[in-house]
């Protein structure tokens, strides 16, 4: 029964091709869940929209860029408050949200004049910010507002500004994944190569597909500083607009989230000869391996080994302290896509845990090839999972803790299973050596919390 029709899906049997339970001796030549295809009507999807993938995941992370959302106000609000990616620029990118606040009359008569007014107002309100991204949304795409023409007018009028237009409305694709794709390809074709960076080291790198969730990028930057590698651009964690325009000058791109940013890494290799090196920057042992690859590339292995030795001496015992309480505990990972394959072996090899179910919102078949190669026999693999499927899988695999987002997280709390925010973390960073310890600590706190034990008591039956 490798592809499984869950009881929750009896009325929507099309879901069978999205749910896989790995059996001994099987591999992805035989079974590979369908993914990155349209959500089946009747399935309550957890997916986001394509505009969200461009804005919330990638563009909105930049610390020096005004983000104008050309659409109804909700499009801005709903991609503002749900991610925790700080910056060293006084958190400019998470303090503010900008919207053209389109109303019915603007939809009927066109929104270009309103957009231009909003762009000029925003530049006037933030005179030290001279970079802007403008996003079309469903409403403004449908009425055909030409945001590129408006952006050109504003650039010509102000002279000292640069504007990137993201034309990826919510309906552009089947999930947020389309937004990642559109942003990546338009950025590399329109903006990369338009700024020359100051080169301060023989060793130059792009860090691609890290979004500085609770400080991940700070950890990676510190490692690179210590081994003398200049980060040309972070795409886009704690990154800047102009640094991302200068990505063509790096000698190497290391790629963590290959789903959201593999496209630009591919194009940098194809267009500029900058190799794409995929790495795992989560996981205690994986981090050693990733740093060693960078060391081998630049012939600076001695510096890397010194860094690893010191970090392991500091954080290794801390990680060891959590192992006894986590070994043998069952984990479910229900996140976007890549964290499934980044985390499953790390949790099992570093901590002795068992990853018993994994669900991806927007992963492609490439992600399932990776995760099924790394994942256990007997584990349940789900694409675009729905709420009822999640509850059924909980009954099947009985996880001790679930990594997922706040929406699903609130649901699983109701069946008294602790969740950890798998998108924005509980208490990160989770990357690097210290991040692996933070992740282990959060799991330990969740699994051994007395609150959940108390919550399970049925007071109507004399629980107290």
């Amino acid at each position: 029964m490798p592809m499984a029709l869950l009881e929750a899906d009896v009325k929507i049997p099309e879901r069978k091709k999205h749910v896989y339970i790995k059996q001994p001796g099987e591999d992805t030549k035989q079974y590979l869940p369908a993914s990155n295809i349209t959500t089946i009507p009747g399935s309550l999807s957890e997916r986001g929209c394509s505009y969200c993938g461009a804005k919330l995941v990638i563009g909105g992370v930049l610390k020096d860029t005004i983000q104008i959302i050309h659409g109804p106000v909700g499009c801005s609000y709903n991609t503002w408050h749900t991610k925790r990616y700080p910056s060293d620029a006084d958190n400019f990118q998470i303090k503010y949200a900008w919207s053209t606040d389109m109303k019915e009359s603007n939809v009927v008569f066109g929104g270009e004049a309103r957009l231009k007014k909003s762009m000029l107002e925003a530049f006037a309100a933030f005179p030290d910010k001279r970079r802007m991204m403008v996003y079309t949304t469903c409403a403004t795409a449908l009425i055909g507002d030409d945001i590129k023409a408006v952006a050109k007018e504003v650039q010509d009028e102000l002279g000292d500004v640069d504007i990137f237009c993201v034309e990826c409305p919510g309906f552009a694709g089947v999930s947020q994944s389309k937004g990642h794709h559109v942003f990546n390809i338009d950025w590399v074709n329109q903006k990369v190569g338009t700024v020359e960076p100051d080169i301060t080291s023989d060793f130059t790198i792009n860090i691609i597909g890290d979004y500085n969730i609770q400080g991940d990028a700070y950890v990676l930057q510190r490692y690179m500083d210590e081994i003398g590698v200049q980060v040309i651009a972070h795409f886009t964690g704690n990154g800047t607009y102009d640094a991302c325009r200068s990505m063509h000058r790096a000698k190497l791109s290391i790629t963590n989230c290959a789903r959201s940013a593999g496209y630009i890494a591919n194009e940098l290799q194809k267009q500029y000869g900058i190799p794409r090196m995929d790495v795992d920057t989560w996981g205690f042992d994986y981090v050693k391996e990733s740093l060693r690859k960078i060391g081998a590339f630049f012939n600076i292995e001695d510096r890397v080994e010194a860094l690893i030795e010191r970090e392991v001496a500091v954080h290794g015992p801390r990680l060891d302290g959590f192992k006894a309480g986590l070994a043998g505990k069952k984990v479910a990972i229900w996140t976007g896509g890549p964290r499934l394959w980044h985390w499953t072996k790390a949790l099992e090899d570093d901590l002795g845990m068992e990853v018993v179910a994994m669900a991806s919102k927007f992963g492609h078949q490439e992600d399932f090839e990776k995760v099924i190669a790394r994942g256990r026999v007997g584990t349940v693999y789900i694409d675009d999972g729905n709420e009822l499927e999640f509850f059924e899988v909980i009954d099947m695999v009985k996880p001790d803790v679930i990594f997922t987002g706040p929406r699903v997280g609130e649901l699983v709390k109701k069946v008294h299973i602790p969740y950890i925010n798998g998108h924005a973390y509980h208490n990160g960073p989770y990357m690097g050596f210290e991040g692996a310890v933070n992740m282990a600590r959060d799991m330990s706190n969740a699994i051994h919390s007395n609150l959940f034990k108390l919550a399970k008591r049925d007071i109507s039956k004399g629980g107290f």
């Binding site: 992805t28 030549k29 590979l32 593999g262 591919n266 190799p275 794409r276 190669a373």
Partner: protein, 112 residues
């Protein structure tokens, strides 16, 4: 020999990511070059590092060769012919699962 090819293949599948790049041609280039470099490194031959892309394959191969040495006590003592045979066998299996018989429908999508 088949057992040893299977062990190295399983380790690569669990540990590495380069065999699952976006497109068929990227996958094939990575598989052939990185496993080819592993064979060269293990037998003390010179590896092409003349471009950044070649150097990247070398870096992946160097770390993989080191991991295989640590994991399998028989790996370091192999002759050039045996190392080559193992790496060729692993290439064949990786090509089979990631390129030739992969069910991933996006591998040949030119706009991926």
């Amino acid at each position: 020999m088949e057992d040893r090819i299977g062990l190295v293949y399983s380790f690569v599948m669990e540990r590495c990511l380069w065999q699952f790049f976006s497109r068929n041609w990227d996958r094939e280039e990575n598989i052939r070059r990185i496993m080819g470099d592993v064979a060269k490194i293990q037998s003390g031959q010179e590896v092409d590092r003349s471009t950044n892309i070649a150097n990247s394959h070398y870096a992946d191969a160097k770390i993989l060769a080191s991991q295989l040495s640590q994991r399998f006590d028989w790996f370091d003592g192999l002759s050039w012919a045996k190392v080559n045979e193992i790496c060729d066998g692993v290439i064949e299996k990786l090509m089979d699962i990631a390129v030739v018989n992969s069910l991933n429908a996006e591998r040949n999508e030119s706009k991926y």
